[in-house]
Point group: C2
């Protein structure tokens, strides 16, 4: 395999993020330095990563406190890594457009589930690589802007 060029990586990345029923690994940290990691369903809506989690979860608590998460989509050897900032958190029944977009891509619908929130995550840095030969050139977005 030859390393993909930047345009191919971006196209592959956008296709992966829009895949129906795809999951995302969400890593967050507590204020005292304990890492948390969970797999949850992903929706990619208007260039934002959207997840639905219990408001009382460690992920929600960490994200509201720190404002930051590191996301991984795809298998370990075809990965999209996203450093993201929390843009907003909203009860799952408050924003019908967001709820509809989420339920369309994900394979479940959290609307009506008491205590669930949507966390809307804005990508700040995005990297994509498959194997070691793609480490070079892996950064496709920097400071929230595509570089390709």
């Amino acid at each position: 395999m030859t390393p993909r060029d930047a345009a191919s990586r971006k196209a592959d990345t956008l296709a992966m993020l829009a895949t129906p029923e795809i999951d995302v690994w969400v890593a967050t940290a507590s204020a005292d330095g304990e890492a948390h990691l969970v797999p949850v369903s992903l929706a990619w809506v208007d260039e934002r990563a959207v997840i639905a989690v219990p408001e009382a979860s460690v992920t929600t608590r960490n994200l509201i406190a720190s404002g930051r998460a590191r996301l991984a989509v795809g298998p370990t050897r075809d990965v999209v890594m996203i450093d993201a900032a929390l843009e907003r958190n909203v009860d799952v029944d408050v924003d019908p457009t967001l709820g509809e977009a989420y339920a369309t891509q994900a394979d479940w619908d959290p609307r009506g589930d008491n205590g669930y929130v949507f966390l809307v995550l804005r990508p700040v840095r995005l990297q994509a690589w498959r194997e070691a030969d793609e480490i070079k050139g892996r950064t496709l977005m920097r400071d929230g802007a595509w570089v390709v």
Copy 2:
């Protein structure tokens, strides 16, 4: 699919951890609450998760400072989640037995790579589940001891 019983989950877990050329997601946190997440090759040696990473990496720095990581092995819907403690870190050329065990399972051999260390991680809590119907009964190890 009916949920697997505890014995099946343990057997599946041990088989997965011993899989040749398998990767592990490693989530760590900095002291100021920034999460880090990387996919790396895994070796499962004497009930320890062993990874090889640059000594200067964020993962090494976080693990030496905090002593803790959260690991995920397997795809998002057949996952083994491990909360682990750093047992020791050792230059890749110092412990030949460990180096041999790592290189046998992984698909690369870090020995001779200047600046790489083995991080030996002791599982403290281990959970395994596939879908939502396996959330109940997912804890297979608690306080470092198998409960099944």
